[in-house]
């Protein structure tokens, strides 16, 4: 037998379900512009039918919302994280290289190359007129310019290295704060999952945090069945369920007291191959650190080789004496012109034999800049500088094209993700109309059932009244 009010029950369930579906549409529309939001779909399903005894046909009982599903693809999410890690690394390298390029000021008439060329020129003028104090004064000024240029570039590169070092500390702080928030979201997800529901919005928040974390550091993510995640960096756990483990920084005495990154509990040094943190550390140690070393090598070679030649020549003093040190210092940082030269122009040893009109040693001094030396890898100082600049150019160019490539890749994956999970307002409008109409029809069903029941309840058995 069919229960008397069965039809009203169907209508009630329909009204409730369509209204619920309409709510989901509303939630989607409301979050159309929320970053990381995945659209949700109310999955409608028929409620279990009943099979009345001694009657043909099953009796449908209506509709219910089986689940509210989050439309989402874990595989795209994984790819997006992996490519974002590379993007973070290359972008950090590129940002540092852009600054290095600005510091070097090449090609222009303001860089080290021009200072060296001008110094060379002044030595050539001196070899032409070794008797002239004016020519000697120009040599001294240009030598001071060379020393100042080396010091200036060295200081700027060192400042950049220290900035990058501070950035390492900031990156680690960001990573720690992200892992804390992830642990917190994990805790909330766990709580919701206990009630058997799918914590859709929390899962979006979780994925957003993971993606943000991936830009900073190379992570490995494992998802538990209840939706919480386990995250590790370099094989060491940083988030497990509702617990986060901090990374710490230490000054590394083997690396100029720059920061290195360690795992909090044991202090084990972390090996981080990818992500922004890795890019910043590479830029600090290999790129900027390498350029500082190159610059020092060039300055040291010029100081030593120039002094060697200078000490073979004769000064213009009375009587002529062998030349002393011209440059002082051990590298680019402390390169300077010897105080004797600064005080007394006659101390510049331009002569090869002591005669005042002999400028042969000034010519030999000029030749230092275009003579190949083994300590510069069989390159002359001018060639070496050029090679360093063009290698910086090549590295920056590569970084730029990697950033462009990764940006395109990440953008493509974002589009794929958006295409699947993003909210389309048109679609939601169509659904809205659909559910609204179904709701109206269900309401009409209540009226129909009501009218049908009215016949039995109010008008039946009143014959002859």
């Amino acid at each position: 037998m069919r229960p008397t009010f069965f039809g009203l029950d169907i209508a009630r369930r329909a009204l409730q379900s369509q209204m619920r579906a309409l709510d989901v549409v509303g939630h989607n529309i409301a979050n159309a512009n929320t970053p990381g939001y995945s659209r949700q779909v109310a999955l409608l399903g028929a409620t279990p039918a009943i099979t009345p005894a001694q009657q043909a046909g099953q009796l449908g009982t209506g509709v219910q919302v089986m689940a509210v599903r989050r439309v989402h693809d874990e595989f795209i999410e994984m790819q997006l994280r992996a490519e974002t890690e590379s993007y973070g690394r290359w972008n950090a390298r590129y940002e540092a290289l852009q600054q290095v390029e600005l510091i070097l000021q090449e090609p222009s008439d303001l860089g080290l190359r021009d200072a060296l060329d001008q110094f060379w020129q002044s030595l050539q003028d001196l070899h032409q007129q070794p008797e002239s104090d004016a020519a000697r004064a120009v040599v001294r000024e240009r030598a001071l310019l060379v020393a100042a240029s080396f010091q200036h570039v060295h200081k700027q590169l060192t400042d950049l290295q220290l900035d990058l070092d501070r950035l390492v500390g900031l990156e680690v702080m960001t990573i720690n704060s992200l892992t804390e928030r992830l642990a917190d979201v994990n805790r909330q997800i766990h709580r919701v999952s206990l009630s058997g529901q799918s914590p859709n919005d929390l899962l979006d928040e979780r994925d957003k945090l993971l993606l943000e974390l991936a830009e900073h550091v190379d992570i490995h993510v494992m998802e538990y069945e209840n939706g919480t995640v386990h995250v590790s960096v370099g094989g060491l756990t940083v988030v497990d369920r509702d617990r986060s483990i901090q990374l710490v920084t230490q000054r590394d005495p083997d690396n100029n007291s720059l920061l290195s990154v360690h795992w909090g509990p044991t202090g084990q040094k972390l090996d981080i191959p990818n992500g922004r943190l890795a890019g910043v550390m590479e830029a600090r140690d290999e790129l900027v650190g390498g350029y500082i070393a190159d610059l020092d090598r060039l300055a040291r070679t010029i100081i030593q080789r120039f002094n060697e030649v200078h000490q073979q020549g004769f000064t213009r003093e009375e009587p002529p004496a062998l030349g002393g040190e011209f440059f002082t210092g051990t590298g680019a940082k402390d390169m300077s012109v010897h105080q004797d030269i600064q005080d007394n122009l006659a101390k510049i040893a331009a002569s090869a034999d002591g005669a005042p009109g002999n400028g042969a040693n000034a010519l030999s001094l000029a030749q230092v800049f275009h003579t190949a030396y083994t300590e510069l890898g069989n390159a002359s100082p001018a060639d070496f500088l050029r090679a360093v600049v063009s290698s910086i150019g090549v590295t920056a160019q590569q970084a730029r094209s990697m950033v462009a490539g990764q940006t395109a890749l990440v953008e493509h994956l974002r589009n794929r993700k958006e295409s699947l999970s993003g909210v389309s307002l048109d679609e939601e409008m169509v659904d809205m109309v659909r559910f609204q109409q179904a709701y109206a029809a269900a309401a009409r069903l209540v009226t129909a059932m009501d009218e049908a029941l009215e016949v039995i309840i109010n008008r039946m058995g009143v014959v002859g009244r």
Binding site: A32, N33, L97, Q98, E101, L102, L104, E106, P107, R113, D114, D117, Q118, W120, Q121, Q124, D125, H127, Q128, Q129, E131, S351, D353, A355, P356, G357, N358, G359, A360, L363, A366, H370, A382, L385, R386, A387, V389, S390, S391, I392, G393, V394, A396, Q397, R400, E411, R414, N415, E418, S419, L420, G422, V423, S424, L425, D426, M429, V430, V433
Partner: protein
């Protein structure tokens, strides 16, 4: 593919940004006139540009060295030319004085003229270029000959040295720009002094024979030095036109390497601007309408 509203918005922004950054780059090229702003704009061209800058500096410097060398050689040549004139006059005087019919007081007058010539030659030997004695070797601050006509005695000693003043005129190639004075002037001074003494002594035999030969040898020596100086100057003149040509070529190469091709940049800028406008127009049309506009 399912297309959503935020996808459209993001893609539009990305493409507008691409166009804008391209325009920014072209704009910078146009305002600076340089194609190479950073090494990474074109690392290979940067390296080439740096080398060209250095080579250009070298070429200009060698050109300056060369001009200076030519000035030295010209001054030397002028001095030697003057000395040749003086010597030829001395030879004429020797021939005069050798005549037995000439009275001794006439010969004394000739001797006084030779003395004048001697002083003139000493002046020439002490020629200065700027502040520098050109016939002192590398002792350019020392007067090569000091001669006092009032005190007779042996020929004045050469106070310079044998140093050659070498100027670099191209990479690793040097040219001496001076002539050490003793090679040229010692025989002349010695010759003129003996000529003067022979005239005073009336030694006609020596005047007609040995001394005449001495003066002739001095003239020959001078001519040899002059042709040597002339040959060096010639070589430098040739090198100068080569350096001029090289400088021109280097400037052209440098401009090709680092300067922006303005016509090309303007055309590219125009194209980018059009693409940007098109993207803006397309964006304005595509982000506006939605189904909402058509549902009543």
């Amino acid at each position: 593919m399912r297309v959503t509203n935020s996808m459209i918005a993001r893609n539009l922004l990305a493409s507008l940004n691409t166009h804008l950054s391209r325009m920014e780059d072209l704009h910078l090229q146009m305002s600076t006139g340089k194609r190479l702003r950073l090494p990474s704009s074109d690392p290979a061209a940067t390296s080439v540009a740096m080398r060209l800058h250095t080579t250009l500096t070298q070429t200009r410097q060698h050109r300056a060295n060369l001009d200076q060398a030519l000035s030295w050689l010209d001054t030397t040549d002028a001095a030697l030319n003057e000395a040749t004139g003086a010597l030829q006059r001395a030879r004429e005087l020797a021939v005069y004085g050798a005549s037995d019919t000439l009275p001794q007081d006439a010969r004394d007058a000739l001797a006084r003229e030779v003395e004048q010539l001697l002083e003139h030659i000493i002046d020439i030997a002490n020629t200065r270029f700027g502040d520098l004695y050109i016939f002192s070797g590398n002792q350019t601050l020392t007067r090569p000959y000091t001669y006092d006509p009032a005190t007779p005695g042996p020929p004045p000693a050469y106070a310079g040295d044998h140093g050659l003043r070498q100027y670099e005129v191209s990479d690793g190639v040097t040219v001496p720009v001076n002539v050490p004075g003793d090679q040229v002037f010692d025989p002349i001074i010695e010759g003129l002094m003996s000529l003067r003494d022979a005239l005073e002594a009336g030694d006609t035999e020596a005047l007609g024979g040995e001394l005449l030969q001495k003066v002739d040898r001095a003239v020959e020596g001078l001519l040899r030095q002059r042709s040597d100086v002339g040959a060096r100057a010639n070589r430098l003149e040739l090198a100068r036109s080569r350096l001029d040509e090289m400088e021109l070529n280097l400037e052209r190469l440098l401009s090709n390497t680092e300067d922006a091709d303005l016509a090309q940049v303007i055309v590219d800028l125009k194209i980018s601007e059009n693409a940007y406008r098109a993207a803006l127009a397309a964006g304005a049309r595509i982000i506006q309408p939605s189904l909402m506009d058509f549902l009543s």
